[in-house]
């Protein structure tokens, strides 16, 4: 019964990851791509983590799993914000037809 739950959860997670990747390829501009990626992948990750949570032997490992999930969500959210702040206004990474002018992207030197 536990294994069935894990299989279902992991499968659902994979479907969301696939949806996110599909969004990355199909959507025209950076904003929508980021939107697809962050929504689908975070949900997918959550489902997989949940699926694995039942397999975990002890509470310590459960805490580690949650820590991994929290870190992944935190990093994904922060990175998506940064990419959006730099790329979107300057129209970087948009497909040619969806190019919109105006780049008030604030000058920021990466390390």
């Amino acid at each position: 019964m536990i294994d069935l739950f894990t299989i279902v959860m992991t499968a659902a997670g994979l479907i969301f990851f696939a949806a996110g990747t599909l969004g990355l390829i199909r959507f025209p501009d950076t904003h929508s791509r980021l939107h697809a990626l962050t929504k689908a992948d975070n949900l997918g990750l959550g489902l997989i983590a949940l699926g694995l949570a039942v397999q975990v032997p002890g509470p310590a490992d459960l805490f580690k799993l949650i820590l991994i999930w929290a870190l992944a969500i935190l990093a994904a959210g922060a990175t998506a914000q940064l990419v959006a702040r730099i790329a979107a206004p300057a129209g970087l990474g948009d497909d040619e037809k969806a190019q919109d002018g105006g780049s008030d992207g604030q000058e920021r030197r990466r390390p």
């Binding site: 870190l71 935190l74 914000q81």
Partner: protein, 313 residues
């Protein structure tokens, strides 16, 4: 154990990522694919039962090397100003090189396939593990059986940093290392820079502490701590240290000095670099703690790069 479908697909994906990283046209995409390739190699290490190496490959091989490549790309783009044509070399040489590379690959594969049956040292390590002071066999090899390699390796890391400082410009000497980070206060990066460090410190210290019993160790823990310091400075919470700062130099040098002193002290207990079995346990932990401090400082300074002249920072 028999190669499963998972291994086959992992190898194919690894080769695809490596192909994209080496043969791709755009340099930035190549580096991105290199980082993906590094993470996949780390998974391959898990399949080969080498968890310590998987940690090291993910942290150092994929993570830190990726950051160095990205930083170099950004700085060269600023300084070289334009994109010189990449591999537009004469087709004749590319075909000849491809053939030569193919022949070498077949030679190495043939040599690998005709290796005699394995004569690993698992037995020797297991016998002497009790006297080595560490339960994790890899840490026992790294810090006791082949401790001299690890000592020289920490000095190689320091030599690379010294080489990078040698490449600084004369008028920039003594100044702060690397480029100044312009971060809007209260921005996402600033918040991220405040949330991550506590967790990073916890994970880094845990990795070093667990190193003697389970997979982990000074280099993997040091890399995590270096990443924490880099993120805090990128988030603008701290300034990159001055190259002439005495405390920084002490932190860089303390690890190898203590390890060397221990090695010399060993000659009074028998031979060079002997860790007497009775004290080997805590000696290894002490050396790992001090090494982690130096490795974290050195790796972070490697990423910051040489000191830059004041106005260009």
């Amino acid at each position: 154990m028999i190669a499963s479908i998972f291994d086959l697909t992992l190898c194919l994906v690894i080769l695809a990522a490596a192909g994209a990283a080496t043969l791709g046209r755009d340099a930035f995409m190549a580096v991105v694919f290199y980082i993906v390739y590094g993470i996949l190699i780390a998974m391959a290490w898990l399949r080969l039962g080498a968890i310590d190496v998987a940690l090291a490959e993910a942290a150092i091989g994929a993570g830190l090397t990726g950051v160095l490549l990205l930083a170099a790309l950004a700085r060269v783009a600023r300084k070289a100003g334009k994109e010189p044509a990449s591999a537009a070399s004469v087709p004749a040489t590319t075909i000849a090189t491809a053939l030569a590379a193919l022949v070498i690959t077949i030679g190495i594969a043939y040599a690998f396939l005709t290796l005699p049956e394995p004569q690993g040292l698992q037995g020797h390590v297991a016998e002497n593990l009790a006297a080595s002071g560490a339960e994790n066999p890899v840490t026992a090899v790294l810090l006791n059986f082949r401790g001299w390699d690890t000592l020289l390796e920490s000095i190689v890391l320091l030599a690379a940093l010294l080489g990078i400082w040698t490449l600084a410009q004369d008028e920039a000497w003594g100044g702060r290392a690397g480029l100044r980070h312009v971060t809007r206060p209260g921005s996402v990066l600033a918040q991220f820079g405040r949330i991550l460090p506590p967790i990073g410190l916890l994970v880094g210290v845990y990795l070093v502490w667990a190193g003697s019993k389970q997979p982990g160790g000074a280099f993997q823990g040091g890399t995590v701590l270096a990443a924490v310091w880099i993120v805090t400075i990128m988030a603008g919470l701290m300034q990159a240290p001055r190259v002439a700062d005495r405390a920084l130099r002490a932190a860089l040098v303390i690890g190898p000095v203590i390890f060397l002193a221990l090695a010399v002290a060993g000659i009074f207990a028998g031979a060079f670099l002997v860790l007497p079995p009775a004290h080997a346990g805590w000696l290894i932990l002490a050396v790992e703690a001090v090494l982690t401090l130096s490795i974290a400082a050195t790796l972070a300074m490697l990423v910051f790069g040489p000191p830059e002249p004041e106005e260009k920072r």
